[in-house]
C-alpha cells in the first residue's frame, strides 16, 4: 500500500446521496481476476450522460471525490475502491459512508474522510482542497476542517503498512486462541 502523503488536488463534485457500489462499478466489470484496469468502469452507466461530472473537462485530473451521505452503500465489492483509485481518486469526502466500503478504502490507501454535512457541502463547492492526514485536516473550504479517523487506521495509511504482515506478528496469540477453542 502506498503511504498517504498530503494531497492538494482538484475536487470532483458528485452531488448525490446514497450512491451505492453498483453505481460506482457495475456488475459487468466484476468478472476480472485483477485489481488493475477498473477505472474504465467507474460510474459506467452515469458516464453515458455527456453532462455527468466525469465527462466535464474542467474536472479532469481531479483526485478528491466529494459526494453526498451514505456513499458506497450496498455491495461489498472492493472493485469500487479499485475503480476509483485506477481512475486517479486518492481521497473520498462524504458526510457518511457504507461500512464495508469505508473499510475497503482503508485497506487500499484511499483515504475516506467523514465531514459534517455543512462542511461536506462546502467541500463540494471548493474547487480545490488540501487534505492532510497527519494533522487530520481539510483545507480550502472555509476555515480548516478537522476530521476523525481511528488512530490505528491512520497510522497504517500514513506508513502504507501491510496489515497482514502486522497481524502475523500476533501469531502466538492466534495460536493460543486456537488451542483454547479447537
Amino acid at each position: 500500500m502506498t503511504p498517504f502523503t498530503p494531497l492538494e488536488a482538484a475536487v470532483l463534485p458528485l452531488d448525490r446521496a446514497h450512491v451505492d457500489t453498483d453505481q460506482i462499478i457495475p456488475k459487468q466489470f466484476l468478472k476480472t481476476t485483477e485489481r488493475a484496469g477498473l477505472g474504465r468502469g467507474l460510474f459506467f452507466a452515469w458516464r453515458q450522460d455527456p453532462a455527468f461530472v466525469l465527462n466535464q473537462p474542467r474536472y479532469a485530473g481531479a483526485h478528491i471525490l466529494v459526494a453526498g451521505e451514505n456513499f458506497g452503500c450496498g455491495s461489498s465489492r472492493e472493485h469500487a475502491v479499485w475503480a476509483l483509485m485506477d481512475y486517479g481518486i486518492r481521497c473520498v469526502i462524504a458526510p457518511s459512508f457504507g461500512d464495508i466500503f469505508y473499510n475497503n478504502c482503508c485497506k487500499n490507501g484511499l483515504l475516506p474522510v467523514r465531514l459534517a454535512l455543512p462542511d461536506a457541502q462546502r467541500a463540494l463547492a471548493a474547487g480545490r482542497l488540501r487534505v492532510d492526514l497527519a494533522t487530520q485536516t481539510v483545507i480550502g473550504a472555509g476555515p480548516a476542517i478537522h476530521f476523525e479517523i481511528a488512530p490505528a487506521v491512520k497510522q497504517r495509511l500514513l506508513e502504507g503498512l501491510d496489515e497482514i504482515a502486522l497481524t502475523l506478528r500476533r501469531l502466538p496469540q492466534i495460536e493460543a486462541y486456537e488451542a483454547m477453542h479447537p
Binding site: 472492493e78 475502491v81 457504507g98 473499510n103
Partner: protein
Amino acid sequence: MNQPRTMFEKVWQRHIVAAADDPGGPELLYVDLHLIHEVTSPQAFAGLRATGRKLRRPDRTFATMDHDVPTDPRPFKILDPEAASQLAALAENCRDFGVRLAGLDSPEQGIVHVIAPELGMTQPGMTIVCGDSHTSTHGAFGALAFGIGTSEVEHVFATQCLWQARPQTLRLNFTGALPAGTTAKDLILHAIGRIGTNGATGSVIEYAGPAIRELTMEERMTVCNMSIEAGAKAGMIAPDATTLAYLRGRPHAPGAEAFGAAAAAWLELASDEGAAFDREVELDAAALEPQVTWGTSPGMVAPVTGAVPDPRVITDPGLRQAAERALAYMALAPGTRIGDIAIDRVFIGSCTNARLEDLERAAAIVRGRRVASGVRAMVVPGSQAVRRAAEARGLDRIFQEAGFEWRQPGCSMCLGMNPDILQPGERCASTSNRNFEGRQGAGGRTHLVSPAMAAAAACSGRFTDVREWL
C-alpha cells in the same frame, strides 16, 4: 453478579484474539467460518501467491460457485469467457490451497447464503464472514456474520482473523403477529423503509419480539439477509427451539451425541434480561401490509394499497433528491397507485427468497393460474438441494404449467452477472434484495416484493394485493 450482556456482546467477546491497541480501536477477532465464491476471492488468492503466504485454515473455509453461473440446464458450456475464467480460477485456487468447493457438478452447489445453513455449517455463536454483503443472512442462527471486502478475504485467508472496531447495537422489537398474506420480506422491507437505508450504519441489529419468535428459520434468514440494506454491519436473531429443530441432523451440525451440549450452549446466547442496547426501535408487525418498492433504494417502499410518493413532501434534502432521481429512473409519476404499475418480468430467486418455503408460497399462488400474457417469469432455486426438494413436491410442474421458467441454482438476476438480465426499460417484480439502478441489467427497473407478491404480479401482469388471492 455479571453485567447483563447482549447476544452480540457474548459472541464478540468469545472471539477476541487480541485487544485493541487504543481505546475504542479495532480488536482482533477470530473467524470460525469463511465462505468464499468466485467474484470476490481471485485477487485475495493472488495476494497469497504473491507473498508466498499459506491459507491458515482451509478446514474453516468453504467455497461455492454462484454469482456468475448460468442457470441453464446442466451440463452447459459457459459462453462468457470472463465468467468461465473466473470460475476456473476458483476451482484452481481451491485445489491449490486445499479448500473444499461445491462446484457446478456438486449436489451441494447453490447460493453461498443458502447452502451454508442447509448443510448445517452455519451455527449459533459463530463468527462468519464472506466477501459478500448478504452474509448477514447467517445471523438468523445467532451467529455474528458480516460481509467483507477482498483485502479482508485475503487477511482471513492468511490469519483466520480480522481487525474490527466494535459496532453499536440496535434492537428492533416487532410486536404483534404478521397478518395473513404478509411475510418476513414485507416485515424487513417495511423496517428498512422506517429506519432508512443508513438507519443502522455502524450497528448490529438484533431482531426481537413476538413476530420474530414466530418466524421459521427460512423466514429469519430473509429478515437478516437484508440487514445490510439498512446499512447494518450484521443482523442477529436469538437461537431458540426453532433454531435447534432446523439444525438437528444437518450434515455439518453436531451429531446426536454432541448435539445436546451444543444446544444448551446455543440457548445461552440470547441477550440477557436488562442488557443495554445503544438504540431500540419498536415496530408493529400486526399493522403490516404486503410491501412493494417504488424506487432505486430498498428503503423506498410502500404498501401494495398505497401509492408512489411525491418527492416534494420529503423533508430530508438527500432523500428528496434521491427520490426525484429514482422516479425519473423508474419512469413513475408521483401519486401512481402501486396496483396500477404493470410489469414485464418476474424473478423469484436470490439469497433473500429462494428457499423451499419461498417457492412453496409462490407456487400456492400460481397453482391453477397462468402467467399474464407479455410477462416473462422465472424461478431460480437457491441451491441444488432446494431444487430437488421443490421438484419432489411437484413445484417445478406447477410453475412450468403456469408458464414460468424453472431454472438451475445461482444468484442469477439478483445482480445479473450471468446471462439472466433485464433489458433496458423492462420492469421487474423481484424477490431479491436490491433495486439499485441497473442492478438487474442496465436500464432495468426493479421492484422488490415477497415471493407470493411476485407470483401474483406474474399472473395478473401488475402489482396485486396477494391477500385478495388467499
